[in-house]
């Protein structure tokens, strides 16, 4: 009789109570996710209003203190920012909110890889900014991306991503390569093939455990972005299978993977950040905002070891950059458009550049001292204002398509497979096209 009924009477009742209590709390814990519905009033009797700004990643307004400044200038307006870290999470949510017409902020951030799709399908839900902002103030191609065929502008340009090359001077020195900005630029002036040649040169004498580049998908992206024709043609037809820029980028990526010039790390992943900290990558393709990423992740220990030079080849590329749009359904559309105009004006874009390194799309900012004379101490005092402003001038006007962002991600995944798993280029390309056909639908 050692076995059988163990708990009797009172203690069993306690057990039952305990388990039901725990189950109930478990249900509460799992079932009730946060339900903090925004009950804050957006305006009160005194005419004070709160404007909400929803964005993703790092727009830099908080870092530059712009919302407080705006509140000082307009005491009746308070600006609240709601930031989603990952744009891939942000965008589906934005689409759902646009579909249902509720939950939208007064100002919404729009990513360049999505702007075409929004212009095509959701333009009627955004306020027309063409009369509020002067589109000619921006770099020539920027506002065209956010303009509908009938001339409506749904987004005001924030930053752009003129591309340069960041390199680790310490690793370059150890591998017997020149470290001077101009000399490095001269070595890769012929284009991305030169860049790979430099990589092979690097590999011959490279310090153990280091690689020439962080990820071939970044190079692919740079190659494609330096062409006007990317994944779609002018009529909106997807042409990525025959697009010369995609082919060139893919072949270069395959070559880099084959020659093991790349560490094969997905950018912004934790291993990638760790690799920056440990200084195992000699070069990183560097859109303006990337400098901030490198300095933050590589840390103070690597200060002064990095430098910036112009990207390979003669044509510059643009990577990234966003817009601010004002949904029509908001309660304070007029105030919101004013805020957007102010945020995208030269002074404010310069302030953001100073704070986090996102390069202005408003040409007026290029002559401001904060931009023109900007140098980065972390990058050996590289004159970034000058480098990026020069790059920005030669960026071609890209033809955008509705699924640019998703196509780019899909190809990046397959490039990663070539680097990390040694997937044969043909197999990877087949997998990529299959997945992209699904993306395009």
């Amino acid at each position: 009789m050692r076995i059988t009924r163990t708990v009797a009477g009172r203690s069993r009742r306690v057990a039952v109570l305990a388990t039901t209590g725990l189950t109930a709390s478990a249900l509460l814990l799992t079932g009730c996710s946060s339900d903090d519905s925004d009950s804050n009033e957006s305006s009160d009797a005194n005419g004070k209003i709160t404007l909400t700004v929803a964005d993703f990643g790092q727009f830099g307004y908080k870092e530059a203190g712009l919302f407080e400044k705006y509140h000082e200038l307009h005491p009746n307006i308070t600006v609240k920012e709601d930031t989603t870290a990952d744009e891939k999470v942000y965008y589906p949510k934005l689409l759902q909110q646009l579909n249902s017409g509720s939950g939208l902020a007064d100002v919404q951030g729009l990513e360049v890889g999505r702007i075409k799709e929004l212009v095509d399908t959701k333009a009627d839900q955004f306020a027309d900014l063409s009369k509020v902002i002067d589109v000619n103030e921006f770099v020539s191609w920027k506002e065209k991306q956010a303009t509908t065929p009938d001339g409506k502008v749904i987004g005001a340009g924030t930053d752009i991503g003129p591309m340069s090359l960041c390199y680790n001077t310490e690793l370059f020195k150890k591998a017997g390569l020149p470290t001077d900005r101009k000399e490095v630029a001269a070595k890769i002036s012929g284009g991305w093939e030169d860049y790979l040649k430099l990589g092979e040169e690097y590999k011959k004498k490279a310090p153990k455990g280091t690689y020439f580049m962080d990820s071939a998908s970044a190079m692919f992206n740079a190659v494609v972005s330096s062409n006007a024709k990317q994944y779609y043609d002018e009529s909106g037809k997807p042409i990525y299978k025959d697009s010369p820029s995609v082919q060139q980028g893919w072949n270069l990526a395959a070559e880099a993977a084959d020659k093991k010039l790349t560490q094969g790390l997905a950018q912004f992943s934790d291993p990638w950040k760790a690799a920056l900290r440990k200084s195992t990558m000699a070069t990183v393709v560097c859109p303006a905002w990337m400098a901030g990423q490198i300095s933050v992740n590589a840390g103070d220990a690597n200060k002064g070891k990095w430098d910036i030079t112009t990207a390979p080849g003669a044509t510059a590329a643009n990577w990234g950059g966003s817009f601010l749009g004002v949904p029509k359904s908001g309660k304070h559309v007029e105030e919101a458009t004013k805020l957007v105009k102010w945020l995208t004006a030269p002074e404010q874009q310069a302030a953001v550049f100073k704070a986090i390194g996102s390069f202005p799309s408003n040409k007026g900012a290029y002559d401001l001292p904060d931009v023109k004379n900007a140098t980065l101490p972390y990058f050996n005092d590289a004159p970034i204002g000058q480098i990026y402003a020069d790059e920005a001038k030669s960026i071609p006007e890209a033809i955008l398509g509705p699924k640019d962002a998703a196509i780019k991600d899909t190809i990046s995944t397959q490039i990663n497979n070539m680097e990390q798993r040694g997937t044969a280029p043909d197999d990877a390309w087949e997998a990529a096209t299959k997945a992209i056909d699904k993306v395009i639908g």
């Binding site: 076995i3 163990t6 799992t30 934790d270 998703a406």
Partner: protein, 331 residues
């Protein structure tokens, strides 16, 4: 007797007929209302469930089916274009769909089988006389009380290739440097571990409850006959638990069919949404999510949802057949 007669009259209910005749019309109406109340009220009591089910269960189900027959994009949900079976055709010819089906199945087996076996063993142990048994029973349910998201995120740290807790521990015995999420089998193992960790306690308590309902004289008789504990477990406990075991299998099957949070969060980001860079741990739910929310094609996503329902019904039918067989052979 003489005294009891009037008393009995007073207590006994009056004969039905005698009361009905003098009753006015109002009384009649009232009794009809009463009878109506008697018949209708139960329906009213259970109505809330069916109303809620209709609004949040049945309607979405049917609407999903409707969407599955259309071309609907996330970017223009008000524009629907009839395409018939095209969406089903599309997913059935998509190799990724079949990868997801097999992944779901493999992960389901890999997580359910050990989970239920361990739960059975734990329940058996908890059924012994233990000090502070309530404490142990409560503790065993705590993993279940954590949210999928936090559990998956913590385990993502454990299974991380670079600086992960597990690799760090394996390093000491000369192993390590396994890129858990990257491998076809290792990623499935990692996800199964999260599932097992979360659900074992839940099943343990169900088994424990069922074990406590087993009549103690069975054990007494068995031990008088000289049966060891293991024999008692095999010959008394398991047969008594058969219906419960079947129940947990059904529940676990449904649960593993809907496996979503764990694979999505194992690596997170783009890789999570496609179940790894070669879809090595993409389950059907993740496939559905990716199709609908990442790619924005709601038609095929809805078709996947219906395919999942069909698969579940198929599994339920198999379960039912097995259950019938088990019950027959038990008799």
């Amino acid at each position: 007797m003489a005294t009891s007669t009037p008393t009995r009259d007073a207590y006994a209910p009056p004969p039905r007929g005698s009361q009905r005749k003098p009753a006015p019309r109002r009384q009649n109406w009232r009794s009809r209302l009463w009878r109506f109340d008697d018949k209708a009220s139960p329906y009213a009591y259970i109505a809330p469930f069916f109303l809620v089910f209709g609004a949040f269960g049945l309607y979405p189900l049917i609407y999903t089916g409707w969407i599955a027959l259309h071309r609907v994009e996330m970017t223009g949900m008000n524009q629907m274009e009839w395409v018939g079976w095209e969406n089903f055709d599309k997913i059935l010819h998509d190799s990724e769909f079949w990868t997801a089906v097999s992944n779901t199945f493999v992960i389901g087996v890999m997580s359910t089988v050990p989970q239920l076996l361990v739960a059975l063993g734990l329940a058996h142990l908890l059924n012994y006389k233990l000090r502070a048994s309530t404490f142990w029973r409560t503790v065993i349910l705590t993993p279940y009380a954590t949210s999928v998201a936090s559990a998956a995120l913590v385990f993502a740290l454990v299974f991380r290739a670079d600086g992960g807790l597990l690799n760090w521990a394996l390093h000491f015995i000369g192993l390590g440097d396994t890129n858990w999420a990257n491998g076809h089998w290792t990623s499935k193992i990692a996800i199964s571990v999260i599932v097992i960790w979360r659900w074992t306690g839940y099943n343990t308590l169900i088994y424990l409850a069922a074990m406590q309902a087993v009549p103690s004289d069975l054990y007494e008789a068995a031990s008088l006959d000289g049966a060891s504990r293991w024999q008692q477990f095999r010959k008394v406990t398991i047969p008594s638990l058969r219906p419960t075991i079947l129940f947990t299998i059904v529940i676990s099957t449904i649960g593993s069919m809907q496996l979503f949070g764990e694979p999505l969060l194992l690596e997170g980001g783009t890789l999570g949404a496609t179940g790894g860079n070669e879809n090595q741990y993409e389950t059907l739910s993740v496939y559905l999510y990716n199709y609908g929310w990442n790619l924005g094609h709601l038609g095929p996503a809805a078709a996947v949802a219906w395919a999942m329902l069909a698969l579940l019904l198929l599994i339920a039918a198999v379960n039912w057949l097995i259950g019938r067989y088990v019950r027959k052979s038990a008799v």
